[in-house]
């Protein structure tokens, strides 16, 4: 009789999830699923609210990447106003977005993934954590904390506070900054650059010893999607969508984020609260795509900053086409940290950063607004429809983590097929299956969707896997 093995909860990812591994009659893994059982319903909550409240409301979606939601929301609201945002505000928005990328990626690498990567997947679980890392190399751990502080400090200096800053707004931002803030940010740059390069060196130094994990933790061709600049470089705030396939060939160029509904669809499965976005021209599930650091490395032709360009050039040599190994999300994340620090330094050299014209003001000029930016985990869309009184009639958030959902499920299945055998689970097997998910650094609290749109199926099974009862809600 087929048997189901459940790993719950998945540790060291944000939010709540469950993995089910299905065995066939011979005890081999037949399939696996990554379930998201957390439900939040933010899209429903904001119906009826004035649209100018949205950046503040949306920041509450997440305590790790609130800036991403503030930005995408503010951009959607800019769209409702129909205004051009002043350059000072744009530069602030760019810098804070990059600062958030640094702090979020630093948390992901130093505190969540580095124990696996630097202590080894088979290290005892009681040692394979950030405290084990501290025992092994305290200075490296301190550098991780300082990198997070760097990102968080910029958010605090510019946004007013580190988590959920009341800063982004329709038409611009709410606070100007002065020379003191700018100079403090500049003061952090040399150490931050050094730490990022040390981390890249450390990770590259262990990749040869992890060839099996690289091969089997989510290594398959998919599409990759992300924003790029008009010239095809890395871009996090604006730009156009580029999609490449697993061979690195361009599938779509210059797509307007405002028209995302024409090329992206969202499917649902009864076993997860998280949706399954796909590229419409290839259908579901054939149109599976990945977003985030690995995708950005694949869709962009260059970084546009000297240190990151060197690393990105080397990164791209890891494959003749696109780099398809999800394991390389980790390295891509570190290259992005390096790039973000370089870009932040550039922005601090722009006199317009200190301008006083920080917000364009206008009444509502449109009933529909779409905002798009690159969040740490990938491309983020906020889409609002408002009535003539400026009240939100509907909202749709297309979240980075959910866009990786199909790929995460494939990665879990691939890892289970290779690493899980027999009728019991060993710690090393479990950790590798979980590590397949951690490559994507999912933030599940961000990625669950609206009330009534996603049915919940509850199944009651006995120890042998036979179905005793089944309930469907929603």
């Amino acid at each position: 009789m087929p048997e189901r093995i459940v790993i719950q909860p998945v540790t060291r990812i944000e939010g709540h999830a469950k993995i089910s591994i299905y065995l066939d009659d011979d005890g081999a893994v037949s399939s696996a699923q990554f379930h998201v059982t957390e439900f939040r319903g933010f899209e429903k909550l904001c119906e009826g609210r004035p649209f100018h409240e949205m950046p503040g409301l949306m920041s509450r979606v997440c305590g790790i990447c609130p800036v991403s939601h503030i930005l995408a929301s503010s951009k959607a609201c800019d769209n409702l106003l129909g205004v051009e945002v002043p350059r000072t505000a744009v530069q602030q928005r760019r810098m804070v977005n990059l600062a958030q990328l640094v702090q979020s990626h630093a948390l992901s690498f130093f505190h969540l993934s580095a124990p696996d990567l630097l202590l080894g997947m088979d290290a005892p679980p009681e040692k394979r954590n950030v405290f084990g890392l501290v025992e092994r190399d305290a200075e490296f751990a301190r550098r991780g904390i300082r990198l997070r502080q760097f990102g968080q400090r910029i958010i605090e200096l510019v946004g007013g506070k580190r988590i959920h800053p009341s800063w982004g707004a329709p038409g611009g931002v709410l606070r100007a900054i002065g020379e003191a803030e700018r100079d403090e940010i500049r003061g952090w740059i040399p150490e931050a650059l050094e730490s990022a390069e040390i981390a890249i060196g450390r990770l590259k130094g262990v990749l040869d010893s992890m060839a099996i994990e690289i091969e089997h933790l989510g290594n398959f061709p998919t599409l990759f999607l992300g924003l790029v600049s008009p010239e095809g470089g890395l871009e996090y705030y604006d730009g156009v969508i580029r999609i490449v396939d697993g061979e690195g060939n361009a599938v779509a160029e210059g797509l307007d984020p405002q028209r995302y509904l024409t090329y992206l669809g969202e499917a649902s499965e009864e076993w997860s609260f998280m949706k399954f976005p796909y590229y419409k021209p290839l259908g579901y599930p054939g149109g599976k795509y990945r977003v985030g650091p690995l995708a950005r490395m694949n869709v962009a032709r260059f970084a546009g900053t000297p240190r990151a360009d060197r690393e990105m050039h080397e990164f791209k040599q890891r494959s003749q086409g696109a780099v398809c190994e999800s394991f390389h999300y980790h390295l891509a994340r570190l290259i992005e940290i390096l790039h973000a620090i370089e870009r932040i330094e550039e922005i601090t050299q722009d006199p317009d950063l200190l301008g006083s014209n920080i917000r364009a003001r206008a009444g509502q000029n449109r009933n529909e607004g779409i905002g798009c930016s690159e969040a740490p985990r990938g491309t983020l869309f906020h889409h609002y429809q408002v009535d003539d009184n400026g009240l939100v009639r509907s909202a749709n958030l297309l979240i980075a983590t959910s866009q990786n959902n199909l790929a995460m499920n494939l990665a879990v299945e691939q890892a289970a097929r290779y690493f899980v055998s027999g009728r019991s689970l060993q710690e090393g097997m479990l950790n590798r299956v979980e590590a397949a998910i951690r490559c994507f650094d999912p933030c599940l609290s961000c990625s669950t969707h609206a009330l009534g749109q996603m049915p919940l199926v509850v199944e009651l099974r006995d120890a042998g896997g036979a179905l005793l009862d089944r309930a469907r809600r929603g």
Partner: protein
């Protein structure tokens, strides 16, 4: 003597915000630094290490009365990190990475209801008593 008071919780979730109410009620005092945190993250460790005494103030559904108890450093059991860490883990990081030699405490606040605006009467009463305990502690 530096005392660091760290309030933990989400003020938008009813009684979970009780710790924030406590630090709002405490008068500024020399040598006392207060921080309000939605969640604990590793970068708090250096600040903890600079204090002689640190008190984590947190809502606790299992507390019957407000209390201030010594807190030992320690790692989590088996699930070391999500995107947040615990007070015991912060103290451990502060000691291992930044040489914290001070003393750490946990101030537990009795709470019951997280699905409301503002604090419940029971949490308000607990805040009142906790403020008194902390005034004595700081003195």
């Amino acid at each position: 003597m530096t005392v660091l008071l760290i309030a933990i919780g989400n003020a938008m979730r009813g009684d979970d915000g009780a710790a924030h109410r406590v630090i709002e009620r405490l008068e500024p005092a020399p040598g006392v630094v207060v921080r309000g945190e939605l969640q604990l993250l590793p970068e708090l460790a250096p600040e903890v290490a600079r204090a002689d005494r640190v008190v984590f103030i947190d809502a606790d559904v299992e507390a019957d009365e407000p209390s201030i108890e010594p807190l030992e450093a320690g790692a989590g059991a088996g699930t070391p990190l999500v995107h947040t860490i615990t007070p015991r883990e912060i103290v451990l990081l502060a000691g291992k990475l930044y040489g914290f030699t001070g003393r750490a405490y946990l101030c537990r606040l009795p709470v019951a209801d997280f699905d409301r605006d503002g604090l419940s009467p029971a949490a308000e009463a607990g805040v009142e008593k906790a403020v008194g305990l902390l005034r004595e502690f700081i003195r």
